[in-house]
């Protein structure tokens, strides 16, 4: 561990430069895009800068492969002042919209937050100096890879999508695309700031920037619904932001530091001291990760243009929430109260949102519920806090980012070409949009079936829950996974339907959309097949590096061995099986064979097989129809949503109350 650190100091300068580029460059691009009104120029700028960000991100990851925690000696008061200026600017934006749309709760919360953070920054945090304000470790690298490749891929996709979007707007609507792309890039910058800041005040600033960026993106269309949902998002996330602020106050007052690393050190050694701040940070993470009862903001975010959803769901925003929780995992391991809260809220959210996904026919809504459910699982893993659970959480983050962005982009493109986002209307997509349908099928399979991606991570999750005796989570995972199988399989089935002679409607999909889609497919395939390699070079180094960060001998011993609990052989077997499935999907199905064609059975003479019409008993024509099962009476929202909201809400309140009173019994 000492070797790693000295190694880090030696080449610290270059690393700071790279990180500085990743944080500042997207910001500069955002400013430029705000000013560029011309389409062609924007396309070039977005393509080039996306490529630059992706290349630097990948280069940075590769250059530091297998690295542990590397603190970077970097401190300048300029960043502190910039952070303060940003918080004021953000508050101004929120207040402007709050007053414009007369939303009182938002105004109140924004005022509380800006006053709170001003007092904190000028008063309490003023004397606290963090020497290593920037850092990176393998988890930051993983996140940087996701932001830099998946995130920019979505920005490229948005070029073509927003062109269609603008074309669908009524005549004379103002072209607000410069704003849209500027926010997208600012978002990326904020995310980099979050994953590389060891100074928690900086981290908090990045956190707030993502909140406001997603507020602006959700409200982008300015329809009544969009504005309503944007305000719901901002209210829920400011609650999280205030919780974060409370945590910062506690940390400075109790621990006397603002360094994330020192906080984790102290927290792992003396969990009783940090109970309240950890609970507050957990609450902040839960709101950002859209866990029940805060999940409605992510559902509401669907009103935004699809690239926004893809960005929020896969590489940014919600991932910031789980990133923070995974970072805190070692503290959860020794601090029962916040751990129980996080584990149960995550587990319940996973289970109930998987159930509710069954009852949805709107593709984006299914994706949203699946996102919330998977985040729940990641949150639960973080709450358990064993090395195995952290290993699983990291893989869940990676695979979810790739598969979910692929799926959102597919649904977005399909929506523009078939005019619907309803799964029932995706009948025959396999013929109408052959390439897109296969991409979508791959994305779905990566989400839920072994040996592809997500399920390997779920496998590790199950093992870690079983090993640490978390029976409640094992049971939740069992039922949740069964529901997951059902809602994905029926969607997959809808896509798989084949009938000849339907018109191919995917010929005029924008090149930029194909570029991004292909990128996601390649990433998905590489990640599934290369899972053992990723484990060795990225995930295990992170888990091991936690041992060097914590100051608790038990935890050190626990984390020192890495967290992989699926043996190498099994990982390789599944990599091989993944190859078979991918070959089947792209080279096996959908070819024209030599077999004698047959009519499907329709309980009458077939008239038109593709339209499923047959001759009925009165010699007329009847069309056979079939729809998927949505089991609304069993798994409907009306039935399940209140249960989850109440359970999780009560859990959070009880945990917060107990942590403020600091009940020593819970130690």
């Amino acid at each position: 561990m000492r070797f790693v650190e000295s190694f880090g100091y030696r080449k610290g300068g270059e690393d700071v430069a790279m990180i500085g580029f990743l944080i500042l460059f997207p910001l500069v691009v955002a400013l430029v895009l705000l000013l560029v009104k011309q389409n062609q120029a924007r396309n070039v700028i977005v393509y080039v800068s996306a490529a630059a960000i992706a290349v630097v991100s990948i280069g940075f990851c590769l250059a530091n492969l297998g690295s542990g925690w590397v603190g970077l000696q970097f401190y300048t008061p300029i960043v502190d002042y910039a952070c303060m200026a940003i918080s004021v600017a953000l508050a101004a934006v929120i207040l402007y919209f709050g007053i414009l749309y007369r939303n009182v709760p938002t105004i109140v919360l924004a005022v509380v937050q800006v006053v709170g953070s001003a007092v904190f920054e000028l008063g309490f945090a003023h004397g606290v100096h963090v020497a290593e304000s920037l850092y990176f470790d393998s988890l930051s690298l993983l996140m940087a890879f996701i932001i830099g490749v998946v995130g920019t891929g979505i920005c490229v996709y948005a070029l073509g999508y927003m062109e269609d979007f603008q074309a669908h707007q009524p005549e004379g609507t103002k072209d607000r695309r410069p704003m849209f792309f500027a926010i997208m890039f600012a978002f990326l910058s904020a995310m980099y700031f979050i994953v590389f800041s060891n100074n928690m005040l900086w981290l908090f600033t990045g956190w707030e920037v993502t909140t406001v960026c997603s507020f602006l993106l959700i409200g982008f269309t300015r329809t009544d619904e969009a504005i309503k949902n944007a305000f719901r998002q901002i209210i829920m996330n400011i609650i999280g932001g205030i919780a974060f602020l409370v945590a910062l106050y506690c940390i400075v007052l109790q621990v006397g530091t603002l360094s994330l690393r020192e906080f984790i050190e102290v927290g792992s050694a003396y969990p009783i001291i940090v109970m309240l701040p950890v609970c507050c940070l957990a609450l902040a993470g839960l709101t950002k990760a859209a866990q029940m009862p805060f999940h409605t903001w992510l559902l509401g975010a669907m009103v935004a243009p699809t690239p926004t959803s893809a960005l929020l769901h896969s590489s940014t925003m919600v991932k910031a929430g789980v990133f923070l929780l995974v970072k805190l995992a070692p503290v959860f391991n020794v601090c029962p109260l916040p751990s129980i809260m996080v584990v149960l809220v995550g587990g319940i959210t996973f289970l109930l949102c998987s159930f509710m996904a069954i009852s949805q026919s709107n593709a984006k809504r299914v994706l949203a519920y699946s996102t919330i459910a998977n985040l729940g699982l990641i949150v639960a893993c973080a709450g358990v806090g064993t090395p195995e659970a952290v290993w699983a959480a990291c893989f869940l983050i990676l695979f979810h980012a790739i598969a979910k962005s692929l799926l959102f982009l597919c649904v977005g493109t399909a929506e523009h070409h078939i005019g619907s986002r309803n799964i029932e209307d995706m009948d025959l997509l396999f013929e109408r949009m052959p390439r897109l349908a296969r991409f979508m099928m791959l994305g779905i399979m990566v989400m839920f079936i072994a040996p592809l991606g997500m399920l390997m991570a779920k496998w590790a999750t199950l093992v870690s829950f079983a090993d640490s005796g978390q029976i409640a989570l094992v049971i939740i995972l069992g039922f949740g996974s069964a529901a997951t199988f059902f809602f994905w399989a029926k969607w997959l089935g809808k896509l798989a339907g084949i009938a000849a002679c339907d018109k191919n409607v995917e010929l005029d999909v924008h090149k930029s959309e194909w570029t991004a889609l292909m990128l996601m497919v390649v990433l998905a395939v590489l990640a599934c097949v290369g899972l053992p390699v990723i484990s060795t070079f990225l995930i295990e180094p992170y888990v091991c590096s936690v041992a060097a960060v914590v100051a608790n001998p038990t935890l050190m011993a626990l984390y020192a061995f890495g967290g992989q609990d699926i043996s190498g052989t099994n990982l390789w077997i599944s990599a091989l099986l993944a190859v078979i499935v991918i070959v089947m999907l792209f080279a096996g199905v959908g070819r024209r064979g030599k077999e004698k064609p047959a009519q499907i059975y329709l309980a009458g003479a077939s008239v038109d097989n593709d339209r499923r019409t047959f001759r009925n008993s009165l010699s007329g024509e009847t069309a056979a129809t079939s729809r998927n099962w949505y089991l609304d009476s069993t798994f409907g929202e009306a039935r399940i949503k209140p249960v989850g909201e109440w359970m999780c809400g009560i859990l959070i309140v009880v945990a917060l109350v107990l942590s403020t009173t600091g009940l020593p019994i819970l130690m």
Binding site: I449, I471, V474, L477, G478, G493, N570, M584
Partner: protein, 298 residues
């Protein structure tokens, strides 16, 4: 990087692909014979399933589309792999996940035809997977915790049973009973043969396999034989311990369980999906949950 157990697994897969169809075929023959006797008939010869499949293979290739056979072929391949992993002593969870993949591909084979009857069958089959999956996962976790309770260290490797001083049935018998319940769904025996029934009185159009014929249907038959052999292996696993005699005990239990399944199959009428889902989940929650709690905390 690829150690010898990968080679061992591949050998196991090949061996399973050769042996399981033979055993499965005989089992299917016995099934039909015993069923016939229960219904007061003489029944076909034991080798009838083999004759049926041979005839199917000789038929002209007629199909709604050419993808169906690809899906079914892959499903069969993954069934071999799942069986091979299990019988070579590999990871139980891996075996479960791979057989679930086979189940999914079988479902897709039905969906891809766009036949309304096949789609209904496929939807029901999906529902059946959802009904039995929790109990199957709990069985795997109970296997892990059960070996942990006996050996002191838990394992998901099936070969672990040969190190046990006492068989797993002694500490996870409740899970065994729960698994016995969902086994009926997995074997698609009445009353849980919603997706596809082999009883003419319950089904006129043949659910998932409505559009399958010739070679494709033959592969489906072989797949079911192999599945049966695999699932019965899961049953036998509960009764094996370090003593070689235990293999014999396991065989006897397996045959008794299969007889029980045939008896159930012939004595119950098909239920609705609500009852299937509810009962399977309650059984999983009670049998699986209780047993796991006892293992973890007592």
């Amino acid at each position: 990087m690829l150690n010898e157990s990968l080679v061992f697994t591949i050998v196991g897969i090949v061996a399973f692909a050769v042996i399981a169809p033979v055993l499965g075929c005989l089992l299917a023959g016995v099934d039909r014979k015993v069923s016939a006797r229960m219904q007061g008939r003489v029944g076909p010869p034991i080798l009838q399933p083999y004759y049926d499949v041979r005839k199917l293979l000789e038929k002209e290739t007629v199909a709604v589309n050419s993808s169906e056979v690809v899906y079914v072929g892959c499903a069969l391949l993954f069934t071999f792999i799942a069986g091979g992993i299990f019988y070579s002593g590999g990871n139980l969870l891996m075996s479960i996940f791979v057989i679930t993949l086979a189940a999914l591909l079988f479902i897709l084979a039905a969906y891809c035809t766009r036949s309304p009857y096949a789609e209904v069958g496929a939807a029901r089959e999906t529902l059946q997977v959802m009904a039995y999956e929790p109990m199957v996962l709990f069985m795997a976790v109970a296997f892990f915790m059960g070996t942990k309770a006996i050996l002191g260290v838990g394992t998901f490797n099936v070969s672990g049973v040969f190190f046990l001083g006492v068989p797993l049935i002694t500490n996870i018998w409740l899970v065994f009973l729960g698994f016995l319940f969902v086994l009926t769904i997995k074997l698609r025996k009445s009353p849980f043969d919603l997706s596809m029934s082999h009883h003419a009185h319950q089904e006129i159009v043949k659910g998932v396999t409505t559009e399958m014929s010739g070679r494709t249907l033959a592969m489906v038959e072989v797949m079911h034989w192999c599945e049966n052999i695999l699932f019965l292996g899961w049953i036998g696993m509960f009764f094996v311990w370090a003593n070689p005699v235990s293999l014999l005990v396991a065989l006897v239990v397996v045959l008794a369980v299969y007889f029980l399944e045939i008896w159930i199959d012939n004595n119950f009428a098909r239920v609705k999906w609500q009852l299937m889902l509810k009962s399977a989940w309650i059984v999983a929650l009670v049998a699986g949950g209780l047993n796991l709690i006892v293992l973890a905390y007592l």
